[in-house]
Symmetry: C2
Subunit: 578 residues, 2 copies
Amino acid sequence: MDYHQNGFRPGDPSVAPENRRLKDVADVLIVGSGPAGLTLAAYLAQFPHIHTRLIERRDGPLQIGQADGIACRTMEMFAAFGFVHDVLREAYWVNETAFWAPQGGHIARTGRIDDVEPGLSEMPHVILSQARVQEFYLRAMAQAPTRLTPEYGVTVEGLSIPEDPAAPVEVSLSTGECAKARFVVGCDGARSAVRKALDIPLHGEAANAAWGVMDVLAVTDFPDIRLKCAIQSADEGALLIIPREGGHMVRLYIELDKLAPTERVADLEITPDHLIAGAQRILAPYTLEVREVAWWSVYEIGQRTAPRFADTAPDGPAPRVFIAGDACHTHSPKAGQGMNVSMQDAWNLGWKLQTVLEGRGGRDLLHSYSAERQAIAQDLIDFDKVFAAKFAAKSGATDTEFQNYFQKQGRYTAGVATRYTPSALTGTRHQDLATGFTLGMRFHSAPVIRWADAKPVHLGHVADLSGRWQLYVFAGKDPAAALALLQAPPENTQVNLVLRTPHRDTVLEPELLPRTGALGLRDYGRVFCPAPEADIFAERGIAPEGAAVLVRPDQYVAFIAPPGAAEDITAFLAAALG
Amino acid sequence: MDYHQNGFRPGDPSVAPENRRLKDVADVLIVGSGPAGLTLAAYLAQFPHIHTRLIERRDGPLQIGQADGIACRTMEMFAAFGFVHDVLREAYWVNETAFWAPQGGHIARTGRIDDVEPGLSEMPHVILSQARVQEFYLRAMAQAPTRLTPEYGVTVEGLSIPEDPAAPVEVSLSTGECAKARFVVGCDGARSAVRKALDIPLHGEAANAAWGVMDVLAVTDFPDIRLKCAIQSADEGALLIIPREGGHMVRLYIELDKLAPTERVADLEITPDHLIAGAQRILAPYTLEVREVAWWSVYEIGQRTAPRFADTAPDGPAPRVFIAGDACHTHSPKAGQGMNVSMQDAWNLGWKLQTVLEGRGGRDLLHSYSAERQAIAQDLIDFDKVFAAKFAAKSGATDTEFQNYFQKQGRYTAGVATRYTPSALTGTRHQDLATGFTLGMRFHSAPVIRWADAKPVHLGHVADLSGRWQLYVFAGKDPAAALALLQAPPENTQVNLVLRTPHRDTVLEPELLPRTGALGLRDYGRVFCPAPEADIFAERGIAPEGAAVLVRPDQYVAFIAPPGAAEDITAFLAAALG
């Protein structure tokens, strides 16, 4: 944590000094405080000059959430949001996954693998109630300079977008207020009022497979009850076990009968007892004695997506109304994608709105939100369909095919497969200078030693919610060009220098360090050296001449250049922001 | 974290359900909410049937603290108290220490070493303001079942201990109240009113060395400003640099002139400008430009200790009034002992008071507090005197002697040198069964894999504030005896079983697991297997027949036995608790 840079201030360093400016026309009106809405709100809440409002249909914070899987990529994001340490402490860690299949009349374990491929992320895949995640977001908002809190019990009744691009969007609220905002973001779920007001459809296949899900406290002799398990029985369907946080609770996903084309899941009249009995049949001869059902539901698998995530087409005027999260794409729960993708949507949109509202970028930058995220959502839904189908397939005596598929697709479920295609925001040149930092993909952090205090840290964790672009500069054999970038960073970037020498052998004049804060102190947190056990230059394929890797505020690699090419970086940024 | 074992409950799992019983006669009255008082209060606050009161002279929580060094051992303790993750996040990590000495007319670096010997503790040595540490304790108290909060602005005016051991101690408070309590603990600092009421002196040498200390935000070209540095100049005295949390602030300890025997530090009329000028002279030719002085003070080194820490002598009646922390021992600040030793005092006393108040032990157990902690305090003061003297010694061109001493004494400064001598609480037999767990010393944790969910964890982190004795059972080549202990733990102990087989190869019938919680669930958190990278059996010298290591609630190793000797363990515990 970096604090006291503007002078010593006692108290909790996570609580920023209050600083906000309320306006008659809000800058951003967010509809819905689920994962997407809260991610966007917690990000925008950091900026004193951006007036954000967040309205929520519920009367208060979520008490019991449905989503629970937190992908590695999301944990990396939580590091920037400042609460990953709390999630790591409370959550269940998905370390391994076991596979069970029919053998000789009952189920037997057919495999046990690492859930996440080693080295894929510095963060584990974890399970924690959506309600707790949302509380961490609410705390982050309350501690941010603008002290943002949701307005509960408020819904959208209508929305009007004036022709005049300088006039605010008008939103009729259930309170009778006509709220005015420069931008409106519908994070209001699968039945999004904002999406309906924009008349954007959801495309996708009709659901015809039903699943039951329940969180239980139970006593069982099934040996893998504290492991994530994919179980296929011979005749009783499939069961997915997801152990939950706290060491005792378990989530069970139980396959129900296929639905007829005209049938809905509500028609099945399922009760918790049905689900328990189904789980018991699948697990037999192991016993399952449920002591408490904490939550349960039945749902139909339905993968659908909206053709665009904004009010205007890519070739139209700059968009002013957006949809994010479940409002524009829905997934089956078991691949754990819904909540994670929704939060990534919001971060993508957040920094772009901030850039435009701060006058550092043109409004056409906002077109890129729908362009980037709609493609990702479609990609994930294609993956999800295959995943869900494979999961439910009764594939016979072994499930080797599913295991292989599971391993191969680990990058999807870890959330690190997202790759933006080349655009004004994603360059194509100089990939050879840093082969381990793929253009268009998230910056893949690696361990380093911070030069000034010899602390082992993760390089990617310098990223915060400041909205700055991070420029990771890897020194060449001759570090002169890299040192020059440290002293004169391109506008709007923050330089993080990685030298090639071991930290105890590194001599650096403190005068070369950038200044920080109101007191003009030197910033000792920007220079790093290789960790003895894992040389980042080798692990990330840095060329002998070094590399400058430009990373967006949402941690995606935008551009790579030789360290001496400061002008190229400036030119790329100017073009990207428009 | 272990939660939901009594049923699912939404919300923050760190907040226990409220459960407390107030009494006319408090069980424990704690005087003073510094590190010792808060440690004791946070511990006792966990027990619904113990009514604890905490009074504090100040009008509210500490805003700016003086102590800042948190030893590895204290961090291990914070893990049990549930806030080590917050401290790890906010604190400065002391990874390396640099030594500077005169060379050719000015100072030069003469050495740079790991601050803590590798493997000494799973926790780093860190620096964080005492005020923040105290806020974490206050939060832990407020989240505990009894919702304990300090009564601010209250002082002790008198104390009376009736002859009748069944009658309560009476304490006259500045509010006019005559508070009654079964036990009173003076954690009220070097000028302790409780100590004075007991008429216990402080023994020690008169101070005659004065030091200045200040926390500054500064710009300097001294290259090691973000490392802990011990600097000896040729003619300008000594300087100790301790970088502070947040990445910018630095604490400087500056040696002042020796005081004459009758002189007091106040006579020197020191100002911050004197201290800055002193630091600048020592650091020359490097520059130091102070932009802000966050806090400063001057102090005399004085090491003193009380001959006993309770109202009664070891051979007298059971004690009812105790003193802890600065009230009974004072240290020089630079070895970072004061706050750390004080907190260990309080945990030692806390579990003994709890044991007696719950009727699980005789009142004579309380004699062991003074016996154990007075010896430790004296030991540390002896160390501290030599350390402080060596630090201030102008030893010539190099300080090799000090470096050697520093390394050798790292266990003291890390807080892991404490060793209780044999007593009813500290056995002497069977050390050979587990040579890495020294009888009388703190349980030295090691990494293991939790069997049920394959999570890499630290074995010692199963310890919590439940007041239970932990029995770490290391299986022999034949695990039968160890498995029998898991099923039938000796009374008042919680068994943690470590098997010899890799976790993926370990087959264990869930029926063997102990039950936990109101729902009778199985406890999957008690069985461990060796970590692939560090076999705990080899690292901690476990004999082929295995070992059962009995550890007190404050994490000190009390007794070792073969796994088959359950009766020996029961007998030891019965004798220990009295």
